[in-house]
């Protein structure tokens, strides 16, 4: 009797476990399918957008009237951004697909720049038309390759989940048609980028001056350590470690760090001239003792100790016991936005906790600043009449094309919002408009 009861209970348990297991399995499958569907959708959308992109570039080539060309370029620009976001959603982290992404973003940059330009006054140059033709052919090839991958994937019912597994275990032999296909796409783009370097679209997204104005002789490792000890304000060598940067670095650097009981410091120093490009000190910070304003004075003194003169404070913020200050190099009342330096100050004792001067050293040089060709009054007329202008400056900024331009900088308010507006001081073009915020309701009181 007992035996039968036992058998009954156990078999009930067995059935129960089976049902539970089956349900778990179903659930897992459902989630897997969800994920798979998202990947599939992104992939198919990508091929669709590449199709459309190719079509639209072709149409643009055929267009002649400027009033149609601008919207057409905007459309192409929109499509590249859609396609890029599709690529971003695919599980390709381990697969080098960046050439294709770069290619897409090059098309985007090119069409954006031409779309915002007044094509009436400056129509497409011959070179640009050639570039467009090249882009048309290349996008056509990519489109075809992608189409092929898509076809194979559909016919063989390939899954992105398998791609992911295949990418993760590279030694295992699996069916990786998709990977091979995408590698082909990537390869063909790679060939183009070489052929493309002559044309105007590569490398103009932002003009980096890449530290070419750095002066001084190359310093040795020992000199770097001596210099850093002064900057860190430490005595002994024991806790200091130094390393040289690798091939990928923009310029040769020494990275110096030190560690003692209460503090840890880290600094990047350029080999040439031994300039401190970036410095971070971390420690526990006590109660606020000094004000944000006093901190700003410390920061300015600190900058002067590195011969960073003529710096003017343009922004300061207090975050949880530290003050962060932004300075701009200012020459004859012209603020140079690319020569920016940030300083971080502990508000318990006013100690400097950080310096970010890489932008300054990357861009700073003796500039030949021209005098404005239009008057401030004329520039003000370009500004939206609803904006109430409160403060005005002269400033040098990098415009959309990455060129340095002299502008009038207006700080103005519209209702309760503050805007920063740059008007080109040579031709009166509205170069940039930026809404300034910088504060937000504290959603979490422990933030």
């Amino acid at each position: 009797m007992i035996r039968w009861i036992l058998i009954g209970v156990l078999s009930l348990g067995l059935v129960g476990t089976g049902v539970w297991g089956y349900m778990e399995h179903q659930e897992k499958n459902a989630i897997l399918i969800q994920a798979e569907n998202t990947y599939q959708r992104s992939f198919h959308e990508l091929t669709y957008h590449m199709d459309l992109l190719n079509d639209q570039i072709g149409t643009a080539l055929a267009m002649n009237s400027t009033e149609r060309l601008s919207p057409q370029f905007v459309e192409i620009w929109r499509l590249t951004s859609e396609a890029l976001s599709n690529v971003g959603q695919l599980p390709l982290g381990l697969l080098p697909f960046n050439k294709t992404e770069e290619f897409l973003s090059d098309i985007g940059d090119f069409t954006y720049r031409t779309a915002v330009r007044n094509l009436e006054n400056s129509p497409l140059t011959e070179e640009e038309t050639e570039t467009l033709q090249e882009l048309y052919i290349q996008s056509g090839d990519i489109k075809n390759e992608l189409r092929e991958v898509q076809h194979i994937a559909l016919e063989n019912n390939l899954r992105w989940m398998d791609v992911q597994v295949a990418l993760a275990n590279q030694d295992e032999q699996m069916d990786n048609t998709i990977i091979d296909g995408l590698k082909t796409v990537e390869k063909s783009v790679e060939e183009y980028t070489e052929g493309n370097t002559q044309s105007s679209i590569i490398g103009t997204s932002s003009k980096d001056h890449s530290y070419k104005y750095l002066t001084g002789k190359e310093i040795s490792e020992q000199e770097a350590i001596d210099k850093s000890k002064k900057i860190f304000n430490v005595e002994n060598d024991e806790n200091i470690t130094i390393a040289e940067s690798g091939d990928g670095s923009d310029i040769p650097l020494y990275s110096i760090s030190y560690n003692n009981d209460e503090k840890r410091g880290y600094m990047d120093m350029s080999k040439q001239g031994g300039y401190p490009l970036s410095l971070l000190v971390t420690r526990d910070i006590g109660e606020n003792k000094i004000s944000l304003n006093e901190g700003a004075e410390n920061a300015l003194d600190y900058l002067e100790s590195f011969d960073l003169d003529n710096m003017s404070l343009i922004g300061s913020s207090e975050y949880n016991r530290v003050g962060v200050y932004s300075f701009l190099y200012t020459e004859n009342d012209v603020r140079v936005y690319s020569d920016a330096v940030e300083v971080k100050v502990a508000l318990d004792n006013g100690e400097i906790l950080g310096l970010a001067a890489n932008n300054y050293y990357m861009n700073h040089t003796d500039r030949d600043i021209p005098s404005p060709e239009i008057s401030e009054e004329e520039a003000k007329k370009v500004v939206n009449p609803n904006v109430e202008i409160q403060e005005e400056f002269l400033a040098i900024i990098d415009n959309d094309l990455g060129e340095e331009v002299l502008t009038y900088e207006f700080l103005g308010t519209l209702d309760n919002d503050t805007y920063r507006i740059f008007i080109n001081a040579m031709n009166g073009m509205e170069e940039k408009v930026e809404k300034l915020d910088g504060t937000e309701i504290n959603y979490a009181s422990n933030f």
Binding site: Q89, D268, N293, N442
Partner: protein, 274 residues
């Protein structure tokens, strides 16, 4: 008739007396501390500054204890109207002028702030506080902001962006030295800037297979303050990586391809590359 007139007079006298008393009591209560208050500051002095500017009708924003742009313009307009040097800084002269020109009912303001009500502090009996639906009581008295109900955020980023990035940094690099955490945050930001990656924080972080902490769920650990500070430093311009867009741990990296990227430097356990 005469009796009535006398009572009337008495009433007026007593009313004005009460009024005066109220006035003088609020005037003596709390004046600013000695600091020069400048844009970006947080705390009780800013609350007082905003309340006084609002009392005089210069400031129409929320009294939140953070010296933002609205407070800055209000202060400059005040300095302009009162014929002072217009510098947007609340130094001693400006503060004295403010104190003599306005009233500050500290108890009323602080009470409303603590109760999380929408309120104003205009002069001329216009003060009113209406209880809002949700009671967002600020119980955090330990933070340096004190009664402040807002925070500074770097231009263009929200607290949620910072939180998300802090999650990623904590999940990826919580065992790393501080500069290693700033470095991971900087890589996320460099990717946002780069044309080959998505152009927003969540896009970069959740890009499939981009970060191991996202793949294995460690991103959902609660980040500590160091991770948040690292993110804010990175947003404010610190980049220990030298403009890297990739990094990997050489001990655990599974991809051969990552070794082909030009390397910039090693911080902690991670190698950073272009």
């Amino acid at each position: 008739m005469a009796y009535r007139r006398i009572t009337f007079l008495l009433m007026i006298v007593s009313l004005s007396f009460f009024g005066l008393q109220g006035e003088s009591s609020t005037k003596t209560v709390n004046a600013f501390s000695s600091q020069v208050i400048q844009q970006g500051a947080v705390g009780d002095d800013v609350i007082e500054l905003q309340s006084r500017l609002q009392y005089l009708g210069f400031y129409n924003g929320k009294i939140d204890g953070v010296f933002g742009w609205g407070t800055y313009w209000a202060l400059r307009n005040f300095q302009y109207e009162f014929g002072m040097e217009i510098d947007g800084l609340a130094g001693q002269t400006t503060k004295d002028k403010l104190v003599s020109a306005s009233n500050y009912d500290e108890g009323y303001v602080k009470e409303n702030i603590n109760q999380g009500t929408d309120f104003t502090h205009y002069g001329g009996g216009e003060q009113k506080g209406t209880p809002s639906g949700e009671n967002t009581t600020n119980t955090d008295t330990e933070s340096t902001g004190g009664n402040a109900t807002a925070v500074n955020v770097p231009q263009g980023y929200s607290q949620n962006d910072i939180q998300l990035m802090a999650n990623a940094v904590y999940g990826e690099a919580r065992g790393e030295p501080y500069e290693g955490q700033v470095a991971v945050a900087a890589v996320i930001l460099n990717r946002i800037e780069s044309p080959t990656f998505p152009n927003n924080a969540s896009g970069v972080i959740f890009e499939p297979r981009a970060f191991t902490a996202v793949a294995d769920g460690q991103i959902w650990l609660e980040p500590n303050d160091k991770a948040r500070e690292a993110v804010i430093d990175a947003i404010n311009g610190w980049d220990p990586t030298g403009n890297a867009t990739y990094y990997f741990n050489p001990d655990t990296a599974t991809s051969d391809w990552i070794w082909t990227r030009p390397q910039i430097k090693k911080i902690g356990k991670h190698i950073f590359c272009k």
